[in-house]
Symmetry: C2
Subunit: 237 residues, 2 copies
DNA sequence: CGGCAAATTGAGGTAGATCAATGTCGGTGG
DNA sequence: CCACCGACATTGATCTACCTCAATTTGCCG
């Protein structure tokens, strides 16, 4: 008998000390003695694609370090339009605003299956008071988020549709193999770049036709970059 | 004899303890004893309109709390186009990324005469290690910056030109008198909203013609808001 | 096999860009 | 004091990139 699942599956208390991606996340520099001080539960959770980790304006009691997968931060405007303000990937922190405010500033919705560690905000606060290392890590995470937000505006929400789509494709290259890139539904891509889904589809199509990209799957989510040079250069100056 | 002025005028060592806007800035919760620990110089500086406080990629050795005036954060894209990613006003911190990185992420250029306090990054670091209050202040400043960046994307870079301009006009209302709003050159406004200056001019003009705004100066920088309701509502749902 | 969800493709309309002329103000020098 | 100039905003007339609406295609799954 399969247990009923809600939005997330609880995987038990996290084993921070043996965490495989510890160097990417908040506790990158934490020492053994720091873990002793921890009394509140850090939990590992899994979300299926399309689930909300938290909602805008909900009480912000925890932050979430992302172990794997991709999360979109979504704002709904007063008149109901959806705007994706940022993407978070492995190593980023979702809900970092919990450290400075009472409620979350946006929805956090998973685009893929996502593994997170849920850390109560009090744990981070007390650790960062005691450990300068955590303190530095936190600064880096804030900076990472801010930088990402500015990049989002300056890179993929600027210029013609063709320029935006190319920037986006480049930004979504795989870390392991930069000649492969994975994108999202045309609707989501539109909400990220301020374009309509048809326009996104057309621009991707024209990159394929131009021999810059090659489809690797049937759905149009994964592409091989055949001509990285042209992808980066086209439409400059 | 008047001393030669470079970009900024040095006004001497800052008197933090008697600072009039201390509750808005970084040291809002600092106590007398905290100031004793400070050995590096905090300087008060004044910049005329149109000067750079710092440049993108320059070595980031200080951050700047803004005492008065308005600063634009500007990114130049590889192909030379200018994009304004955010505005900073009194109480905000320019160059906060100095705490987490070696170089600044954007140009900071004054739009008005601007008064700042220049604080060496080491001062902030050592204070925040010792004082939990500073630590909390810093978190709030990071959050303020991140929130502002996301707002910028979701509010004034989203929707039709008319919606953007109205959002912008509302965002630029004076704190003391919300029925007055001050905007910038049409070119700068365009670079903030992803529009051309002619479009900005037309949209402002149509708001005046519609009786929503009234020009208060000859240059088109200051307006009285005659119908705040319509300014907020028009073009919703 | 049929039905659904997502992407693609096409035709036509429009918001905003582009190109260009005109207007207004403030400063400067004769 | 007035003429001239440069900076900026405004206004007008086209043009076009992207949106809109709609039909078609593709793969997936029951």
């Amino acid at each position: 008998m399969i247990p009923i699942k809600t939005d997330s599956a609880w995987k038990g208390l996290a084993e921070c000390q043996s965490c495989g991606i510890r160097d990417m996340v908040l506790f990158e520099d934490l020492r053994a003695e720091d873990f002793q001080q921890m009394h509140l539960p850090i939990e590992e959770r899994v979300f299926q694609a399309g689930k909300a980790i938290y909602r805008m304006q909900a009480h912000a009691g925890s932050l979430y370090t992302i172990r794997s997968g991709t999360v979109k931060l979504v704002r709904i405007s007063p008149d109901g339009r959806e705007r994706i303000v940022r993407l978070l990937r492995a190593g980023a922190v979702a809900g970092i605003e919990a450290l400075a405010a009472d409620s979350y500033d946006s929805d956090a919705v998973t685009l893929t299956e996502v593994h997170v560690c849920r850390i109560p905000v009090d744990v981070v606060r007390s650790l960062s008071e005691r450990s300068p290392r955590i303190h530095i890590s936190l600064m880096r995470k804030w900076h990472q988020a801010l930088r990402e937000a500015d990049d989002w505006l300056a890179d993929i929400n600027f210029g013609t549709a063709a320029q935006r789509v190319r920037q986006f494709v480049m930004r979504m290259r795989h870390a392991e193999d930069p000649s492969v890139t994975t994108v999202f539904s045309r609707e989501d891509m539109g909400a990220m770049m301020g374009l309509k889904q048809e326009t996104v589809s057309r621009e991707l199509g024209s990159l394929v036709k131009a021999g810059v990209l090659k489809r690797l799957d049937t759905l149009g989510r994964t592409y091989r970059i055949l001509d990285a040079q042209r992808l980066a250069d086209m439409g400059e100056e």
